[in-house]
């Protein structure tokens, strides 16, 4: 289902501009590390979600609408800095707790049909994967520069494509809005118009993306393998970036890492296409 120019401007461009303005203000204003990034990315996504779909009440009735609640939770977590404490136990527990709680809510309808063992396994594994993604992305965003936010933006774009091909244009458009907000962060970083590091953006970005992928995998037809590939793509890029150290700053190396991420996302899109019925009428 195509969207109108007005929907695109209101639901995608406006939130990205809002995120850019928040980042610009955060660069000039005093604040804890991550506060501006958390507000920009989390607030930008929430704005996009509400402009696209409306509030639809609390607690959300539909799983998709938990994505904006997840972004708010992520925004609070990112702004508080609780997951960036030196002691490893509290950050790990908080990431697992929030990830598990989000999946528990998202899968409320699925849980009623699943076997108890399967339900426990899916939520435990899903929470662990989401917490791992959160950790890797947060560490990546602690390093200055455009690379980590750009990887996340590319990942959100890949998610939008795969989800759109799997039976939900509206969830895809939400992923597109997340991509636009993350693009604003990447461009802001590249032009030095954003705070030097954007670690506060990790929680809202990962929780919102995780919510959208979970909805697409369980309530639409996105293959779960594709969802894992999309979640794994930024991990591959960021881990590669960390392992390569100073060499990773060479444009050719960064380009190669981006290509690796794009290849993983392309594979996810191919899986989505293969699993989807033909467009032939």
């Amino acid at each position: 289902m195509p969207f109108t120019p007005a929907q695109f401007l209101l639901g995608v461009v406006l939130p990205a501009l809002a995120a850019a303005l928040v980042l610009l203000a955060a660069r000039r204003a005093a604040g804890g590390p991550g506060l501006g990034a958390a507000l920009a990315v989390g607030g930008g996504y929430v704005l996009a979600h509400l402009l696209q779909r409306g509030g639809r009440g609390l607690p959300p009735r539909e799983a998709t609408d938990w994505a904006w609640v997840a972004a708010i939770a992520g925004m609070l977590a990112g702004a508080s800095g609780l997951t960036r404490r030196r002691t490893p136990l509290l950050p790990l527990a908080l990431r697992l707790l929030l990830s598990g709680a989000l999946l528990w809510q998202l899968l409320a309808a699925w849980r009623t049909q699943a076997e108890p063992d399967e339900m426990r396994s899916v939520i435990a594994v899903g929470a662990a994967v989401l917490a791992l993604l959160w950790t890797v992305v947060e560490v990546g965003l602690e390093r200055p520069g455009w690379f980590a936010p750009a990887l996340l933006a590319v990942t959100a774009a890949g998610a939008a494509g795969a989800i759109g091909l799997s039976g939900s244009f509206r969830v895809a458009l939400l992923a597109g809005a997340l991509c636009a907000v993350l693009c604003a962060a990447a461009v802001g970083s590249a032009l030095r118009l954003a705070p030097p590091t954007l670690e506060g953006a990790a929680a809202p970005a990962v929780l919102a993306l995780g919510a959208l992928l979970t909805c697409a995998a369980f309530y639409s037809e996105l293959p779960r393998a594709a969802a894992f590939l999309i979640g794994g793509a930024p991990v591959a890029g960021l881990v590669g970036d960390a392992l390569l150290g100073a060499r990773a700053r060479r444009p050719a190396v960064r380009g190669g890492l981006l290509l690796l991420v794009a290849a993983l996302l392309g594979l996810a899109v191919k899986l989505a296409v293969d699993a989807s019925p033909s467009f032939d009428m």
């Binding site: 109108t4 799997s166 039976g167 369980f218 309530y219």
Partner: protein, 200 residues
Amino acid sequence: MKLTLLALLAPPAAVLASLALPAAAPAPAPAADAWTIDPVHSSVIYKVRHMGVSNFYGTFKEIGGQISMDPKDPSKSLVTFTIQTASIDSRNPKRDQDLSGPDFFSVKEFPTIEFKSTSVKPDGQDGYDVSGKFTMHGVTKDMSLKVQQVGMADGPKGKMAGYETHTTLKRSDYGMDGGVSNGMLGDEVEVTVSVEVHAG
């Protein structure tokens, strides 16, 4: 000949006494007061405007439910039906995938559309005014249906009857507004539910 569902479900003698039906009535009232929807001979058809220029018709292939009548107190009568949302059929697999997903019915989240009556009143020739709670996409609203009896007969497996109702609903009232704002699909959907029921 007026033959209410209430009367049809009462014992024959009571029916004749209360409604003074002619003895040659083609379908004597069954003794049972419970009727079950026969999904094989029942239909659910929807009609929705496509891009403002044409009407598209589709179906749900699976419906079930029961009618239970209290001859002495019609207000205690009960009509229930359940439509399996995953049975939606628009004659195109890709479109069915879209209709089944979160943009529309989200069939894995909301696997059924349900109607449960709260009152049943006779209304004209072989008609009934059935009010109740209609639940779709997780939203429950009051709904009033004009139900018409199509026919009644002795079938190979006992008494059988047919009923049909037409209604129009706004899907955005149920939080299902995919395609509305961009004009791809109409908000109003006309629905026809035609059921065959069997006694017992």
